[in-house]
Amino acid sequence: MSDNHNHIVDNSLAGKVKEHTGVLAARCYQCGKCSAGCPVSEDMDYPPSLIMRMLQTGDPKDEELVLRSKSIWYCLTCEMCIARCPMEVDIPPMMDYLRSESIKQNKANPASKNIISFHKAFLDSIKQTGRLYELGLTLDFKVRSMKLMQDMSIVPTMLAKNKLNFLPELIKNRRNIKQIFQKTIDKKEETK
């Protein structure tokens, strides 16, 4: 694979994807194999190959749709797309980048609120204790999503089968974890 396109100046979203992940949208020739194999293609508003197409056009309107899509949040990062892609377009890291951009630019799709809430609740739990506290995560998620009755049927069974810890597990060096969070996801954005 040649890498002699460094002379191209590209300020579009596709250009930023290339810069941050190395994925070149132009390599995709729209065969659709990724969309065909994607397990959640039918849950997405735009299947993966269509997301790719919208990056290829360079049209700011399409870029908006990408960042505001449900697709990027439904993506399971199951890596099926890259396993089958004939042009080896590495979609999973691209999706990761689009997700973080979507949050950064405040464009996350409202329909995906629950998925994002779950992730945020998960990370909150780790930030506090260093390891996931499932009960805490569940409560946090319910508060964020207002899905108070969800999964109520299985909670008793889980408790009975000793699958839920009542108390969180605290690691010793929680300070290290908090620092990691501060230097990465909680870092105040420098004005570029």
């Binding site: 399971l76 396993a83 590495d90 260093g130 889980m158 089968k161 699958k163 230097k183």
Partner: protein, 300 residues
């Protein structure tokens, strides 16, 4: 002998039976699995979905801690944690600047000497050659080996087995007498981390998997990932609702299957924690030194 061990949050909590079975199985083969001291959550799906550097720093901390303890092989039974560890190792080893950055973030140095083993690699390296003489109950059931996504993909990073129709788990299962079947959903995603936030999707994806295995006569589905187990087992009522029928095929961790074969009790293996009862018919006779036929399969 002692090996490094990273249980991860699932094995400590919801999937405790997986941890119990891994540790019990290891003990039967005189291996002590020593947890990386003060290990932290690897970040799972949430971290890489929201922030790249966080998603690399959390696993890297564990790798650095493992190095400090003097481990080389670290057993990571959760496939998602295994994926995060392997990806982190791969990215840090291929990108000098990134490695410096992450070392700086976590205030530790990772030198790249850790060899992460998923549960099948652990079995292949330390157990499989010695298992024949310890088998007391042949596991002669029809088993559908379910690999899921993260054990075999992305191939360029993991370099483990082949991405289509993988065989490593099947080979292990055949060694303990199972009839490991050919089926169509070996590596199709179960719905992963959307279990809580998009349960309908999980019901559909996991439903298709369970349905195909049952259709082809599988008596049990073998997994090597706590998230897969959870989706296929704990979410069975949603699956049944989606399929419009009741499927009773139990889900077993590969270490539970091996544990059964070498005579570890169902209680010790944590069967009572499953949502779908493990009612395997008593076919297995106590066997002494019988030749276990293994099928020769080419793994590309």
């Amino acid at each position: 002998m002692k090996l490094g061990f990273y249980p991860g949050c699932s094995l400590e909590g919801m999937s405790r039976e997986y941890s119990d079975s891994v540790v019990a199985l290891a003990k039967r083969f005189d291996i002590e699995l020593v947890q990386i001291p003060d290990w932290n959550c690897c970040g799972a799906t949430a971290a890489h979905n929201l922030n790249k550097e966080l998603s690399l720093s959390l696993p890297a901390r564990n790798l650095a801690l493992a190095e400090k303890e003097g481990f080389t092989d670290v057993v990571v039974p959760c496939a998602a944690c295994y994926s995060r560890f392997s990806t982190t190792h791969h990215e840090l080893m291929h990108n000098h600047d990134l490695r410096h950055k992450i070392n700086e973030v976590m205030e530790m140095e990772y030198k790249g000497t850790i060899n992460t083993l998923n549960v099948i690699q652990f079995i292949d390296k330390y157990i499989i050659d010695k298992i024949e003489e310890k088998i007391v109950n042949k596991f002669n059931y029809k088993a559908a080996c379910y690999y899921g996504c993260l054990l075999v993909r992305p191939n360029k990073v993991l370099e483990f087995d082949r991405t289509e129709d993988p065989q490593t788990m099947d080979v292990v299962m055949r060694k303990i007498g199972a009839d490991s079947i050919d089926w169509a959903f070996k590596t199709e995603c179960c719905g992963a981390g959307l279990s809580v936030s998009a349960t309908n999707t999980v019901a559909r994806l996991s439903g298709k998997i369970v349905d195909d295995a049952e259709h082809r006569g599988a008596e049990v589905i073998i997994v090597a990932c706590p998230m897969c187990h959870s989706n296929l087992d704990m979410r069975r009522s949603e699956i049944n609702k989606y399929l419009g029928k009741k499927v009773t095929t139990p889900i077993l961790y590969i270490t539970q299957a091996l544990g059964l074969a070498v005579g570890i009790s169902e209680k010790e293996l944590g069967f009572n924690r499953h949502f779908v009862p493990v009612n395997l018919p008593k076919k297995a006779e106590t066997v002494q030194k019988e030749e276990v036929k293994t099928q020769k399969v080419e793994v590309e």
